[in-house]
Every structure is written in structure tokens, then in C-alpha cells.
Amino acid sequence: MRRWLAVAVFALGLGGVAQAAIDTYKFADDAERERYHQLTKELRCPKCQNQDIADSNAPIAADLRREIFRMLGEGKSNQQIVDFMVDRYGDFVRYKPALSGRTWLLWFGPGILLVGGFVVLAVIVRRRRGQAITGNTELSLDERERLAKLLNKERSHD
């Protein structure tokens, strides 16, 4: 029993080692670690496209993490690191692409659609309300006669 317990404890320890081995970077301070996490969350893996490079297990993502770590160590700014990636992999690698002639629709498209929707809604509501107020609610002579006939029919059935 004790031996099994020892084996189990040993295995647990191994698990810990294996997990830590995914990325064992030693950061100079907490601020640098924080920037590393922020950057790897903000950049997209070019290979497995719907993961950020912090999440991805693709070899290319590991390479990019290593590059980010290296550049942080060299004292590069976040902007320089992002520019480095965009130079090589294009706007695609940014989850938040820079505002440019090519990306303005991406940024403002949803807003434009929303505003357009409200405009259409406002126009429809206003038109309906206008109709309700100005529309003639009184019955014409013709209509009154028809109504009287219908009511008479009803009564004669009783």
C-alpha cells in the first residue's frame, strides 16, 4: 500500500514537471511576465487560425512565443514586437488589426449597420404614427350602410 502511494505521489510530481515544460521562461520581473501574457493573447496563430499563440500547440506558435520572449528580454516595446509579427505574417496575426484604409469597414461596419437599422426603425415608426393620427377614423356613408345591413342580418338570425 505504501509503495503504491509513493508511486502515485511520484507520478503526480512527474505530471507537474511535464506541464511546466510547455514553456519555461524566466522573466526579469512581473511586468515583463504580464506583457508576455498580454502579447501572446493578442496575437493569433497563423497555423491554427482560431487560437491565439498563447493557447496553440502548433510548432509555429511555440516559435513565436520564443521570439516574443527574446524580444522582451531585449527591451523591445509592445508596439515593436507587434510590428515585427505584422511585417512577417500580415495584419492577420492581430486580433485587433490597426485602423487603416483596408480595415475601416471591419471596425465601423457593425456600427454603421446598427445605426442604419435604427434609422429604418425610426422611419417606419414615424410613418405608422403619422397614418394613425391623420387617417380618417369616421366611417363613410357607404360603409355605414353596409354596417347597418350586416347588423340587421345578425339580428334576424336571432
Binding site: 497555423k47 509555429i60 512577417r88 505574417y89 500580415g90 492577420f92
Partner: protein, 178 residues
């Protein structure tokens, strides 16, 4: 006014249909390369054979294909015979052996024939990173000045060559001649 409203759903439908139809033929795994129009990145790496050091200056002079490959990449094996064929036809092809074991690469080139004029050994993937490579095979087309003009992601086969690469390559060759 009323007629205009009646046509609106049809117009919207057609707009969406055009976008979706285009989407059918887009491959989302193919990223537009950020490197097109830029000079081939600077590098200084040994050759796979280990007999010399290669730099970006060695690529200047003739239009060429630069093929990024590795023995770990199954699709590279698929395209290799076709590269051999192109090399026999006189197309200039350089190889970047990307993140590979050098011994395995040497065996591969011996066993399957070597279509490359220059064999760049990028064991650490540093050149690949500068090229924006995110897998293999990838094939770049460079002009005589060493500027990247086109990038193809995936296997180069007869169709890809005929429809995409050959016209561009021929254009670059003609650019040099007169």
C-alpha cells in the same frame, strides 16, 4: 417608393449570394503574404551539404523559386518529384530546409534526387520566421533582384505551376532579358 421596397429583399439576397459564392472558393488557411514586394530577408546560413555559407546575395541574379521544405512534412514528399521535373526543364529552384534534422535532409536529397541549386540549412527556423513561413511546403517566387513577388502555400503540382507560377515566372524571366 413602394416598388423600391419590393426590390430590396432581392437586392439583399443577391448581395449576400455574391459574398457567399466567393467564399466557396476562398481557402481560409491561405494567408495573403505580408512579404510580397519586399526583398528576401537577410540571412547567413550554412548549406545543407555543409560546404559553404549562403547569404541573400547568392539568390540575386536570376528569377527563382524558393521552396521551403522538411523531411518531417508529408506534403513535401508529394511535391518533390514535380520539383525534380521542373528543375530538369531548367527552372531555377532553391531549397530552404526548414527546422529539420540535417542528416535526414541529406539522405532525402540523395534518395529522391536534389532539384535545388542552393540548399539553405535553416535548422532553427530563423529564416523561416523572417519569411513569415507558418508550415511547409511553401514556395516563394523571387525576381532577379531578389525581391519576393509571389508566395504559394501548399503543394506545387502541375496545375499550380501551369495556372499560377509559370506565367509569373516567365514574366520575370522576360523582365530580365531585354
Amino acid at each position: 417608393m413602394k416598388r423600391w421596397i419590393m426590390v430590396l429583399p432581392l437586392a439583399l439576397f443577391l448581395l449576400v449570394a455574391v459574398f457567399l459564392y466567393r467564399g466557396l472558393y476562398l481557402d481560409p488557411s491561405e494567408l495573403p503574404s505580408a512579404m510580397i514586394g519586399k526583398p528576401f530577408p537577410a540571412f547567413s546560413l550554412a548549406s545543407v551539404q555543409g560546404d559553404r555559407t549562403l547569404t541573400q546575395a547568392d539568390l540575386v541574379g536570376r528569377p527563382a523559386l524558393v521552396n521551403v521544405w522538411g523531411t518531417w512534412c508529408p506534403s513535401c514528399k508529394v511535391e518533390h518529384p514535380y520539383l525534380n521535373q521542373l528543375a530538369e526543364q531548367g527552372v531555377v529552384i532553391h531549397g530552404v530546409n526548414y527546422k529539420d534534422d540535417n542528416g535526414a535532409a541529406l539522405r532525402w536529397l540523395r534518395d529522391f534526387h536534389n532539384p535545388y541549386q542552393l540548399d539553405i540549412r535553416d535548422e532553427q527556423g530563423t529564416l523561416g520566421l523572417d519569411l513569415g513561413v507558418y508550415g511547409a511546403p511553401e514556395t516563394f517566387l523571387i525576381d532577379a533582384k531578389g525581391v519576393i513577388r509571389y508566395k504559394h502555400v501548399g503543394v506545387v503540382d502541375a496545375t499550380v505551376w501551369r495556372e499560377q507560377l509559370a506565367p509569373l515566372y516567365q514574366g520575370l524571366v522576360d523582365e530580365v532579358r531585354p
